[in-house]
Subunit: 242 residues, 4 copies
């Protein structure tokens, strides 16, 4: 059974800024999706914000095992109803891989219970991402660190709950530091945050970056037998009667 | 400097159910507050849901170091605007001690990012709370376990994020189990959940239970020097210029 | 590539106590191993304490992806040198699934950094294991709870480091509670503890118990590309020169 | 009741290297201890490696609430018996604040269950320590980041168990990153690691560094009522008979 992946993308910068369109002629989502499609165990579709229901019909949401999320300039335009559906789907087991400026998305903030705020600067400086949990499946094939020649800076304090695992920490030429790869669980769902991906740089053409996303998708996939936790009133003796 | 505590209470069961009023003639909040008032280092006020703004004016919220929260039948009547203010105050450092059925309060759900659902049964059965992190300040003075003769049952799965610390786990006569004492941090604020406290039992007259609440209040108090993390754009070189 | 599993077993109770031999005629290790051998993705061998080097030659250790460990009456007879080798192998990525009385094994204590002590009683009482992290791969196929009709009791306080994930919590007829399913990482290796398995009960013939062990083995398997973190002195400029 | 602090120090570099002696004429321990002695709530003594029993008699160990630990060139000379005593004392509730090269001490490795290895370079470069958990008592009074003009570099991967809290992360001029402030609990004891403090730089004269150490000592202090968890066999019915 393949993992059903939905690569969700805001897809607005590419339409308004020729520089972004030049780097990502088909959109950032296609750069990511076309990489993931090479894997036999992944079944990949894309969805974008300006589609009907942001491309996220009930059918798409229910039949997605893992969603990746990139948004930036239009977080507030994402409908609360869709966010609510995504939230419940994560609690039921859908994995969520939040990319770069997706830190400020409604769905990430709702799942974290914090502001997810940070410092930033888009000067295109060198980012080094250091592996702080070697052996973790998300950094499979990434041995010690990765270098991205030009990226936006994100700096601490990053207002997130203490991660269950911090697998990458970045340093920038300017001297800042950032927890760039983190994981949490909410309900039955697994959530990963992965920092790189400013729209003005060709980050999603970087093979190491794509590899981490691919790994994260596999890590976030739900267990093969869906769990259905039950809640509510239990009469005395129910355990014996079963 | 004393810790400024606000004991927040729904205060409806006592007005509608004579049995509850008999156990808590002045309300559950007064049972808790009158215990806390005995401590020299705590400055205690109460606030209840049917007061103006639920008793939570901006002034009260800003001047509260730690809030305790009990609600049950009227969670949905708590105004979203007040919840939003409480949320931001926790991120700025206010401690929050969520009691019993407060697990379903809007503020707890918002901070957790999960449904906080569970199993339950109100047959008045024996609860034993086992200390799973001896030495933790919240169980200071509680050595191995506490017994409550009659309580409501809460059972797993309790849909919360993995606690940063689980300091108490309960077992009930019926055979269920529950993570009854848990902690998390969100922003600068510390959050504790403590399970016991069904309105039909005299749980908040139990000295061990009151001791845990008192300990939790001290544990959740913010650091003496308030921190003010800053976010947003940083020009290159700002670190050197400072 | 199959996961190479070594089922390690003390294998002494079976030889000395006819009751144990009756339940496990070929030893507990064979009960576990014969279940695991049914899975196509697992390559299973066994090793026992009274073999040369406890059945753990350098070759066996290096070629094991995940080891399960059951010991009880002879922990102190396990050679320190072998423990040291296992410890380094875990840090290099070998998964370790510690079963029942293995909580007191040298290797588990060394990896935890705590005493791993607990309360116990072997009266053969009912154990209910409640799933506290549904959706976790180790409880794949186990929906809400499992019941074992007769088992030894283990009770809190269990002196372990705060688990990274607590996926099962047990309650016993006597009223005690125990964190029965926990995970940690040490170096590149993943470690799971799973409580049931007293030698006087047919626990390792229980299909749910076997399923959890099988799941744990898969969960603990190292990433497909072995990581080799490097340490030590780095000259200034090494990052640029690479 | 004051917190009884023992500042433990290897105290060998100062005797062999005039440069170190010039920076710390009375030893690094006195730089730390003389700062801590200014606080009314701390009762401070020192102990050094070349004293009898490393200055750590049973009486000193039993009457220490929090110990700070700096060692570097002589870790292997610390007697195993003393390490064993320190280990049990931590499990019973003594706080431990491990400084800089203490990462390789026997006691830290034993409590962590990992190698605690890292990358390093002693070129005297700029270190910036970023606060990643504002509001935490250990960074009380440290708002956003601290700068140390010249320090040794420590770089990831730092082979430690996932910290329960990471309160500081460093970046260095050379581009490396390091989790410089971390906490764990073992048994009843709290453990903090704090990175800065190479012997060739006046780091322990830096007021911010001293403040973090002072905060860490207070954070690591045991609860006011000592807990005494008990283990071992419990007869059926013991809970009712109490």
């Amino acid at each position: 059974m393949p993992i059903r992946v939905t690569v969700w993308h805001e897809f607005r910068h590419e339409k308004r800024n020729p520089k972004v369109a030049e780097i990502y002629p088909k959109g950032m989502h296609e750069a990511i999706a076309s990489h993931l499609r090479k894997a036999n165990d992944l079944e990949v579709r894309t969805a974008t914000q300006d589609q009907d229901e942001h491309g996220l019909s009930d059918d798409v949401i229910q039949n997605t095992d893992v969603m990746t999320w990139w948004g930036h300039m239009a977080h507030s335009d994402v409908k609360d109803l869709i966010v609510e559906k995504l939230y419940h789907r994560v609690l039921q087991g859908m994995g969520l891989v939040v990319l770069h400026s997706g830190h400020f998305s409604k769905i990430f903030q709702k799942l974290m219970g914090t502001s997810c705020n940070l410092k930033w600067r888009d000067d295109g400086e060198r980012e080094i991402l250091w592996v702080t949990r070697p052996g973790h499946p998300i950094v499979n094939g990434i041995d010690d660190h990765l270098v991205i020649a030009r990226e936006e800076m994100y700096g601490e304090f990053f207002d997130i709950p203490e991660p269950e695992c911090t697998f990458l920490i970045s340093t920038f030429s300017g001297g800042e530091v950032f927890r760039s790869g983190c994981t949490w669980r909410r309900g039955l769902g697994k959530i990963a945050y992965f920092r790189p991906g400013h729209e003005l740089f060709p980050t999603y053409h970087d093979l190491n970056v794509l590899k981490v996303i691919e790994n994260a998708v596999r890590w976030a996939a739900p267990a093969s037998t869906p769990a259905h936790p039950t809640f509510g009133k239990r009469e005395n003796g129910w355990l014996e009667r079963k």
